[in-house]
Every structure is written in C-alpha cells, then in structure tokens.
Amino acid sequence: MGHSSAVDVCNVVKRYLDDPALPPALNNVSVNIAHNEFFTLLGPSGCGKTTLLRAIAGFETVSSGDIFLGGERINDLPPYRRRINTVFQSYALFPHMSVAENIAFGLEMQGLGKQAVPKRVKEMLALVQMEHLANRKPAELSGGQQQRVALARALAPQPAVLLLDEPLSALDLKLRKEMQVELKRVQQEAGITFIFVTHDQEEALTLSDRIAVMSAGNIMQIGTPGDIYERPQHRFVAQFIGDINFLPGQMRPGHDQPVFRPAAMPVDIPCQPPSGIDLSRVQLAFRPERSRLVDPSQPHHLRAVIETVMYVGTATLYRCRLPDSSQITLRESNEGGLARNVGEGVAVHLPPQACLLMEA
C-alpha cells in the first residue's frame, strides 16, 4: 500500500443498508490500480462495478474496508475533497450553464484564478475538439458532443484519477467506436489514471491496460486483456469474455503427463492443469477458434458431427454435436481452409495450449 499505486481498494465490503441480510453489493473486494493505467471494471449489470466506482468517487459509503488514493486513506472524505473526477453515464451536464461554464465549474470550485480559468477551459475545448460550441447549452448538443463536454469537464481540474461510468453506453455503435479511440488517445495524452466501468467485454478488451472482471459483488479475476481472454481462471470469466466451449469429464494420469478424458467420448487429451484447483471437479474449456479440424482418420481426437453452418465473413462457425449429444462451437478461418457441410463428421484436435482447465 504505497504511493506506487494510484488507487488501492483493500477488503472493501458494502452491504445494503435497508436489508443487511442480502448478499453484499461488494464482497471483500481488493484491487490495486497503477498510475497512468487504463483500468476497466467489467461485468454484467448488478455485479457491483458501478458501486465500486461510486465508492471510490465518494458517492457511496463502505461498510468496511479501506480505499486509498495515492497512499492516503479517503474513506471519510466527501467527494469534493477527493482529487477524483467522474464522467457520468448520463453526462450530468449542468443545463443552465454553457459548455464553457460547465468545464470551468470544477476549476472555479478549486479556486483557480480568474486569469487561469479561461486559459485552461480553452485547452480542454481543444483537447476534445469542441471549441466552436463553447457557448452552447447542453440541451443544444448531440449525445456524442455532450459526452465530450463531460469528459473535458472532468479532466479540466487535473484529477489524480478519472472515473468513467459506462460513458459510451448511450451512443450508437459507430459513434461508440469513434469515442473509444478518442478516449484512449486522451488518456495517453493526458497521462491520467482511468478507471472505466463497462458491461461490454469487447470495449474492455480494446481499451484496457488491465481488466477486473466482477460478478455479484466479487472480483473474479484481474489481468491484462490477453490474460483474461486466453487464461480465464473461472468459468464465469471464461463465459463472460468471448465464446467458449465446456467439456465435462475427468483428469487421469497418462503416460508422461496428466490427460483429460471428456465424458463425451473416450479420448485422452493431454493438458497441463494449473496449480491450486480441485482436480476432482474440473472441466475442459476451449475457445472455438483454438481448436483445429484434422483428418478424421487420425485417432485420439474428438469426433463431432456438424449440425449448423454459419458464415460470418472472415470465418465460419460450425455448431457440432458430440457423441454424447452435447454441443460445441468451432470457428474456422475462411482463408484457405475447406468449407465443411452440414452432416459431415469431423475430428477436432485440441492443442495443449488451447486447453483451459477450470473448476466446474
């Protein structure tokens, strides 16, 4: 717990005040966010990501645990004493003030001099490319423009950390993609720590330096996008990010290494189980694009029959049925490969690196 982190969350628990019997909104959550990091809290609605963000901002109290900003404990500080600013999901722009006045607000509250304020406002307007709309009222702006004003307003006071609560969720797809690029650019230019909340896993993978995946008040896994995608440690994380197939079955000792025998059919798939998991209750998981279709004459592979073929441009998805009637999805690139047809039998090879073992 030192100044090496921008934000430290230590064992934070938040219970619902009006019904303490319910499972807590935040259940012993701990995370350390580094300086200048683009850190994302990812999870479905109700997982507690917004609650955690609001607790860091100061809009929610915590039942127990500590929150540190740059090494200083901020639990008891009201929002206006924390050097943190928030971009709200609904933007929350002051309707009775112009764009420039909105941006100037935080600066005036900080007591920045009469000379310095307009200068900084101008800088911010330039940063988000809104100079020409400085005197408009928020009601006269489009959603994307409002979003940029909200961002500029939150950045102007040069906070230590910027919190963003699903800022892009109200935008249509094309605009959202543009704004994602903008946000990344601004974060890197301004060199500020971003804590970003979203339920969109693709957005999280694209923008983040690190991601914390949350579910029902718990942090399931923290890691880089690559870690989260390729090495999910929990079933929830594996399912929430990208597509995944699960094969129930058992671990067995093989010739020189452990193998996994799926319940679907008696083949032995070599794979290395990660440490610390209960081997009596494992499942094998693999991403659809990591498997390979091989020559059916070769033994020791999963056999499946193609039921549905879906063309998705760069690849084709095959929905297949295994011998025990369970289903898996395979993704094969369309470049150079053969197209398969419904009813065909295929052999599926799972290289060891593609095999993810996790508790069921």
């Binding site: 100061g58 928030t86 709200f88 929350a92 002051f94 509250m109 900080q110």
Partner: protein, 264 residues
C-alpha cells in the same frame, strides 16, 4: 396506445361542458354586471366603467387594497423562504419524512374556521393587539404549504446526478446549493411565491378574525359590504380581485412549466 375512441364514454362530453359552464357562469355574470350602468342586478342598461371609477376613488377601498398588498408581500417573502428551507430538508428520504411532510401540509387539511378562532385566542391570551402584524403572522402559517408544494415537486424532478457531479467537481454543499440547486429551482420558488401571494390576497376567514380595526383587507371589506347590501361597486371590486387572481395563477403555472423544460 389504446384507441382514443375506447375512452369516449357517452354523455361525458355533455356533462363536462355543463360543468365547465357551471364553474364559469358565476364568474362571467359577476364580471358582466360590474360593467352594467344600471344599479339593479337584473336590468341591463349599458356598458359603463362608472363603478370602477367609484371604487378607485373610494378611500376605504384604497386603504384595504394597500393593506392586502402589504400583508401579502411580507407573508409571501416569509412563507416562501420557510417553505424553501423545508423543501430542501425533505428532498431526501429519511425516517419519518412522510409525517414531516404531512405536518407541513396540515394547514391545508384543517378547517380554517377552527384555526382562525384558535389563532385569535393565541393573540388574545398573549395580549397582542390585533392589527396588520397579527394578520401577517397568521397568513404566513397557511401560505407555507402553497409555496412548499411547487418547490418540493421541482426538487423531486431534479436530476440527483447533477448535485453529485457538482460535488465531484469540488463544490462543497453550500456551493452546490448556490451554483446548481438554486438556479435550477428558482422558477419553482417564484411559482410558489406567486401562489402564496394569491392565497394571502384572497384570504377571508383568518383575516376576519385576527384583523383589528383599521387593518381591513379587501376580502374583509367586501364581506362587510355584502352584509350591508349588494351593490355594483362590490361587483367591480370583486371583478378586479378575480382578474388579479387569475392572472397571477396563470403566471405561476407558466413559471412552473418554464423551470421544468429548462432542466430536463
């Protein structure tokens, strides 16, 4: 959306028009007769401003009108300020909030005659002389709920996130109030103030009991005049009061609408 024709039940339109006529007939009759040159209320002679000239030059009416305005102005300022503070207190839920709000609105529910005599007893037992001061004090009491309701409604509609955003941007609670809450609330405050003003201007029962000699307001004057006998002057002054009330109420309504569209 349900087809509108489903909602049209027979006779409702006719009844409604009848009711509207019933509501507005007396008002129009009154206004009409105030312009009747003839003294009699039954015979219409010709259009005339005579009675208006009479009332404008009537010193008793002048004094009563002045009293009404002074009392209403002071009572409005006091009651609206108190109502504003109370509305700010009740804007967030807390244990017992409903009871507190019920108490604030209590004057609306209690029969005015009872409160009037009780207030009279209060002043008498405290030895306070009856006059404009007692009238003003009494008015503040029942004006508060009328100022309170529009302010409270507007606070309810206000986006709470705006207040959070202001706090997030380093504004302490006082600054949040001054820079965000109050500007957005102001049209509702004005709307409430106008309503309080109207209610004070129009009050009769309470004023009747706690006014002393020489502190007559217009409604009390009108009542005494009616007791003495129906005259066209009464029609004229009544019409003036009606028009003033209606104009003020429409103003209050417009102010309330303006505030809403601005902040949403």
């Amino acid at each position: 959306m349900i087809a509108q024709h489903l909602k049209k039940l027979p006779l409702t339109r006719e009844t409604s028009l009848l009711v509207l006529a019933y509501l507005y007939l007396p008002i129009f009759v009154l206004i009409g007769y105030s312009f009747n040159a003839n003294r009699s209320a039954t015979v219409w002679t010709e259009f005339s401003f005579a009675w208006y000239e009479r009332i404008i030059n009537n010193p008793s009416i002048q004094v009563a009108a002045l009293n009404s305005l002074v009392v209403a102005s002071i009572a409005t300022v006091l009651s609206t300020s108190i109502a504003l503070l109370a509305a700010l207190a009740t804007s967030r839920p807390f244990y017992g909030r409903r009871m507190v709000e019920g108490s604030i609105n209590l004057p609306l529910l209690l029969p005015e005659i009872v409160i009037a005599v009780a207030t009279l007893l209060l002043f008498m037992s405290l030895g306070i002389k009856l006059g404009l001061v007692t009238v003003t004090i009494a008015h503040v009491g029942f004006c508060i709920p009328f100022a309170y309701l529009p302010i409270r409604a507007r606070l309810n509609d206000m986006d709470k996130r705006l207040l959070e955003a202001a706090g997030d941007l380093y504004a302490n609670p006082y600054q949040v109030f001054r820079r965000v809450t109050l500007p957005l609330l102001w049209p509702a405050v004005l709307s409430g103030a106008v309503l309080a003003f109207v209610v004070s201007l129009d009050d009769f029962i309470m004023t009747f009991f706690v006014a002393g000699p020489g502190s007559t307001t217009l409604p009390v004057y009108i009542f005494s005049a009616i007791r003495a006998g129906v005259t066209p002057e009464i029609n004229a002054i009544s019409t003036v009061m009606l028009v003033v009330s209606i104009v003020l109420v429409v103003l209050s309504y417009w102010l309330g609408q303006r505030g809403r569209s601005k902040a949403n």
